[in-house]
Symmetry: C3
Subunit: 137 residues, 3 copies
């Protein structure tokens, strides 16, 4: 059994931003040299998401607009009393999910035709980590 742990560091230019990280994950999976296995991709900061969906900038924009509608940035969260202005980011991250497990079959990510792994940042402009942990044989 092989265990291979790596980390991606994200530092987005915008406070809210979506990035496709599939190629970065695939590179780490290739490094692990497993034929059958899985890889966990999980945001280590609690104001960001990792999810699988379409690589399509129009949809990325739709998703951000939609998340803002369901979990708006506004001043009246109780979390604000701690001095934090990112309560909406904690909620948006919960809506979209913070981790995915991807199967590895015959040495490659076993993804559907349109499945791409994305990172969604809701409180960016500073370095934040994603853990990418592969296991398999």
């Amino acid at each position: 059994m092989t265990w291979h742990t790596d980390y991606l560091v994200m530092n987005t230019k915008q406070r809210y931003e979506i990035a496709d990280i599939t190629d970065d994950v695939a590179r780490i999976v290739a490094d692990a040299k497993v034929r059958e296995g899985m890889v966990l991709v999980s945001a280590m900061h609690i104001t960001a998401s990792v999810y699988v969906n379409d690589h399509e900038p129009g949809l990325w924009s739709d998703m951000m607009t939609w998340l803002e509608g369901l979990a708006p940035a506004k001043p009246d969260y109780k979390h604000r009393l701690t001095g934090e202005d990112n309560a909406d980011a904690h909620l948006k991250r919960s809506l979209l999910g913070h981790q995915v497990m991807l199967p590895i079959t015959r040495g490659k990510l076993d993804l559907g035709p349109w499945e791409r792994v994305h990172y969604a940042e809701f409180d960016g402009r500073r370095p934040k980590r994603i853990v990418v942990k592969v296991f398999g044989d």
Copy 2:
């Protein structure tokens, strides 16, 4: 360590539909013949969900109504500019989640009394795959 990978093909009659796939997953788990392990069940198409909740048609109807309220089918998504009319399906799938990991203990799915695995389709009437990957000893 055993790795056992199988795929389910769903082809729903309706565009929006919920199906209980627990027995299909249990059959694949039985095929894998592991005593301790886990099984990943993950939708390979990005307009469908896999989730664990109640097998109750009234609740299934409630869930679809609720998802339509939070992520409505409507014409003004930017994703529409690519010619696609299924932006709502991408959002609904994100809300409900697209994968689950089920524990296998003493040779069986280790589920609570009411836990059932479901497939939720938001852009159906064509064949779509679910990967079911078992690992264990």
Copy 3:
């Protein structure tokens, strides 16, 4: 390969309640004595969530208020026709998610600085189980 399965029993005083279960999970991980591995933490009842987010009571209150806004307790769900009054709990659990997978690296939970595992109960005041299953080497 080590497989170690344990269960937490939650019995909240309130119908709706959030609890930090990170220390309980860490104790079970320590019992499993694996150096590299993962742990699945999954609610076995379908009206509760397990999620990773901030340990901050103001945010917990914000989350419950927000979930009530998106998936309100109200009498007109079809699920009500079965005699159940907890349809909102099924929906809230779906929004927040019901399970997480945590990496174990060099013998410890490999979490970000603010990541804490929480249990969210939406139909409490009775014993409910969480499965905590560790695997690794």
